[in-house]
């Protein structure tokens, strides 16, 4: 007795099956047409991080899932699917970056943003952990010295705070300034977690100290530059302006480049 072709063909046709529900979201996320997101804890409370095959696309304070998904779609045009946890490599990379390792590579999905905004964020990425730079410094460093307000706006629009450390950019008068991720109090908390004393920073700024020089090297730095931190108290020379430092025979530090966006007076 042999099995006829119809039996075989019917049996084969019955082997057409349904793809797992995870397949389509995974594909769309891989090509950057949808995002995955999850929650993680930070010094300023629970955050949401979203990413896709192109890179990390959003970091923000965690609210309820539905409202995150709605605002994410409004902002990016993409659906976001909640997953249990970050992929191991990304989790490790973010932990290293937040721990101050700037060499670790984290791809970012910054589609839909202007070249100016990306320049600002790229520059913010160069600021080491435990240091801050004024808005005017960022503006000067990206070749747009007059665009100080626009730099502030671009930092406020940073979709990936903490990963792009916009919290390390402060007002030119030395005060901490605004912060998109939950306000100035969070900015102070993050800076403190990175080893800065925001209160000391602000009181020094109020006292007119914008730069710190060393009377042994005759090099002048921004106050939080790692080189300035190494100057022992009796060799620290405060300056109000880069002009007064220059007049006293000091040259600018090559690391923190205090002349960028400097107060000249």
């Amino acid at each position: 007795m042999t099995t006829d072709d119809r039996t075989l063909e019917t049996a084969m046709a019955a082997l057409l099956t349904t793809a797992p529900a995870t397949l389509a979201p995974n594909i769309l996320a891989d090509v950057g047409l949808a995002d995955r997101y999850t929650r993680f804890d930070s010094p300023i409370g629970p955050l949401v991080v979203a990413w896709n095959g192109l890179g990390v696309s959003a970091v923000e304070a965690a609210g309820d899932d539905a409202s995150f998904e709605a605002t994410h779609r409004l902002r990016t045009g993409r659906p976001a699917y909640r997953v249990e946890r970050l992929p191991e490599r990304l989790a490790a990379a973010i932990a290293r970056r937040l721990g101050g390792d700037r060499r670790v590579r984290i791809d970012l999905d910054l589609r839909g943003h202007t070249e100016f905004e990306r320049d600002v964020w790229r520059k913010a990425l160069e600021i080491p952990r435990g240091e801050v730079r004024p808005y005017g410094w960022v503006a000067a460093e990206i070749g747009r010295p007059r665009a100080v307000r626009a730099v502030g706006t671009a930092l406020g629009h940073n979709p990936v705070p903490l990963i792009v450390p916009c919290h390390r950019v402060v007002r030119s008068d030395g005060s901490i300034g605004q912060y998109s991720l939950g306000g100035p109090a969070n900015k102070r908390t993050i800076l403190a977690a990175e080893g800065l004393d925001p209160d000391a920073l602000e009181s020094a700024a109020r006292a007119g100290v914008r730069y710190i020089g060393s009377d042994t090297t005759h090099i002048v730095c921004l106050p939080t530059c790692h080189a300035a931190k190494r100057i022992t108290p009796r060799h620290r020379v405060p300056f109000r302006s880069i002009g007064s430092a220059a007049a006293a025979g000091y040259r600018a530090c090559l690391e923190c480049r205090p002349s960028s966006g400097a107060i000249a007076a």
Binding site: D5, L8, M12, L15, L16, T18, P20, I27
Partner: protein
């Protein structure tokens, strides 16, 4: 040359999947199954806006092809995912005219099939089962009339599908892919010729030979089962 061989996005060889000069216009029943034309227009106009529709329209068949080629659901999901991601990247590099020339069904089948072949070739040799009796073949392979209806029907159909899938895995990959594309996925012979980059006569012969091997395997397994029952 219009309609000539083109490189598939996975780099796994050249396949003609385009112009009618190569594969001929679809005819008869399978010609009517060409539901991709509006989708192709949308893809050519707005890839990002219409790619999800492509995924939803093709994910089940690509997953099924991968599952029947690889036998493992996890592997199959990865292969189907990889295939559609590669399809997206290829499409984003194609100009409008090239997208409009595409025949999505065979083109996507080629991509997933090449990825399955790569996965199979990486497996240890023991994983590629030769055509042989499967001593652990479970269930009753023969569809029984009394089980065609009622609550038992679904479970029985599932068992039968499981058994057929295992038998299919005993075929050499070349015959398995021909049978899977023709009878699981339902590609027409012109589409199958395009997907496998072989003349229509060759793929027809492969399908028939594949079915013959499947029949032999089926009957051997049934015979074996009967012997066990009477032993």
């Amino acid at each position: 040359m219009r309609g000539g061989p083109r490189t598939a996005p996975d780099g796994g060889g050249t396949v003609p999947y385009g112009g009618h000069a190569t594969v001929g216009a679809p005819t008869g029943f399978w010609g009517l199954m060409d539901t991709d034309s509006p989708l192709i227009d949308d893809l050519a106009r707005d890839l990002d806006g219409s790619f999800e529709a492509l995924v939803l329209a093709h994910q089940d068949r690509l997953y099924s092809i991968a599952l029947r080629m690889l036998g493992d659901p996890h592997d199959a999901e990865e292969a189907a995912q990889d295939a559609l991601v590669r399809a997206y990247r290829a499409l984003s590099g194609y100009d409008r005219a090239r997208i409009l020339e595409l025949r999505l069904r065979p083109w996507l089948a080629t991509i997933v099939l090449n990825l399955c072949r790569t996965r199979l070739s990486r497996r240890p040799a023991a994983g590629q089962a030769a055509l042989s009796l499967d001593l652990e073949l479970p269930g009753d392979l023969e569809p029984r009339a009394e089980e065609a209806h009622g609550p038992a029907a679904t479970a029985a159909a599932r068992d039968a599908a499981h058994d057929w899938a295992r038998l299919l895995m005993t075929l050499p990959p070349a015959y398995r892919s021909a049978v899977v594309l023709r009878h699981v996925d339902g590609l027409s012979y012109p589409e199958l010729a395009a997907a496998l980059d072989r003349p229509e006569g060759t793929v027809k012969a492969q399908v028939h030979r594949g079915l013959a091997l499947l029949r032999t395997a089926f009957e051997a397994a049934r015979l074996h089962e009967r012997e066990e029952m009477t032993a």
